[in-house]
Symmetry: C2
Subunit: 252 residues, 2 copies
């Protein structure tokens, strides 16, 4: 798309509750949007079960080919929280109680019954790891090199992302603009294809929907270059208008 | 967990719009819940970009180690819909226009402007594939052996799943029961672990939440064996009650 360095991240979502359909994941969209602001592209996601071999495989495959690797889930105090052990196994290091994490838990639980053995599990980290602050609920996230181990509960993850904002090296954020209209995408497929070909460095996505008994579509133009996005949108609006399809800026 | 045959499926979600954070995926949860009713366990999910190499890699890795493989997304009429070509490349077969799919599109578009070249793209299938009926919007899904190629729009996928209900061989569905209470999971971690150990063949998941300014957790007991689930739930309710934590059946 352009010859600038593109920074990528992968995400491993850890949890039987996502794979059983019990819980609707919200971390993919949240982390994707946050990464984009940092100038980092979410390149791939895997959802894996609470099984060490599955986590190890995903972590090792994805960290090798992305600049950053994020995980969500499995860092709580209960028996099904095995993420720390699995990451340590993937890295070939031991697991230790991080002294600063212990101190954080001691302060947090001072008025909540103290640090039990179960709660102390939340201070366990792969040996050599740093902490990611958690303003919401005490137990911190974990950073080990380019690996970021985050909570499963979305608003706790949001707090951890907040603590990381601006600290990761990235490139230019991808900017996007959306237009939409009451049109079947199959009627304008040629116009979309031609516009993408005519504008080097942009990608056009076409997202159909059915609403109020009618067919419509939104068209999203993406590029790290705002001027290219704007030029492509202008051409698309004109070509679609000439073909009889009025577009709404911002999509419908 | 038990010595019965466990049937597994994997899902590949195809689409830049999920990885950009623009669109919240709903197919993982929908397909997971549907698979469970068929007696098939969703074992792993990957979200990949609209790039042929990424789709081919995921499809070939996952179909080799699961009984079934599902994909969602990328089967529409526009230039960014590359799923059919990628699946054909993964299988090492060509792409053809399926005559029955063409006939379906001709009927569907008879009153909607006819089958244009773009619309005819939706009749393209890997050579040798069968169709999956789409009652919602005409263009069918695709079945090739143990691979099921579905739409990205969730309610179209729902219609395709409906067409497949009862046609796939599976094992016993996993049954689950949930109890919940206003308790920090870290306070009852030992009770959960002991209950899982005492009940062979069950898995207990612990899912904390923060609501109305209070800490709570739901505990989900899963097994293909309803009697084992019920016995484990009974023991858990008693042990948690003895420890001073009343549980709500069905969770909170």
């Amino acid at each position: 798309m352009n010859d600038k360095r593109i920074w990528t991240a992968a995400l491993v979502v850890i949890g039987d509750e996502i794979l059983s359909g019990r819980t609707q994941d919200k971390n993919v969209a949240q982390i994707a949007a946050w990464l984009n602001v940092q100038g980092i592209r979410l390149a791939e996601v895997r959802v894996v079960a609470d099984r060490e071999e599955a986590i190890v495989e995903a972590v090792n495959q994805l960290r090798a080919r992305n600049d950053y690797l994020f995980t969500t889930g499995g860092i709580g105090p209960t028996h099904d929280d095995i993420t720390v052990d699995a990451i340590a196994a993937a890295l070939g290091v031991g697991v230790v109680h991080h002294p600063e994490a212990m101190a954080i838990l001691e302060r947090y639980y001072a008025t909540r019954g103290g640090v039990t053995e179960a709660r102390a599990r939340m201070a366990r980290v792969p040996e050599g790891a740093e902490l990611i602050a958690n303003k919401v609920s005490g137990a911190p996230g974990i950073r080990f090199g380019n690996i970021f181990v985050m909570a499963g509960v979305p608003h706790i993850t949001a707090g951890m992302l907040d603590a990381l904002t601006g600290t990761l090296e990235g490139g230019e954020p991808v900017v996007s603009r959306t237009i939409g209209g009451w049109v079947a995408e199959s009627e304008v497929a040629d116009i979309l294809r031609d516009a993408e070909r005519a504008h080097d460095g942009v990608a056009i996505g076409s997202y159909p929907f059915f609403r109020e008994g009618r067919v419509g579509a939104n068209f999203v133009v993406r590029s790290p270059d705002q001027a290219k996005v704007d030029a492509c949108i202008a051409d698309l609006v004109k070509a679609l208008g000439d073909a009889g399809f009025g577009m709404t800026d911002g999509g419908i």
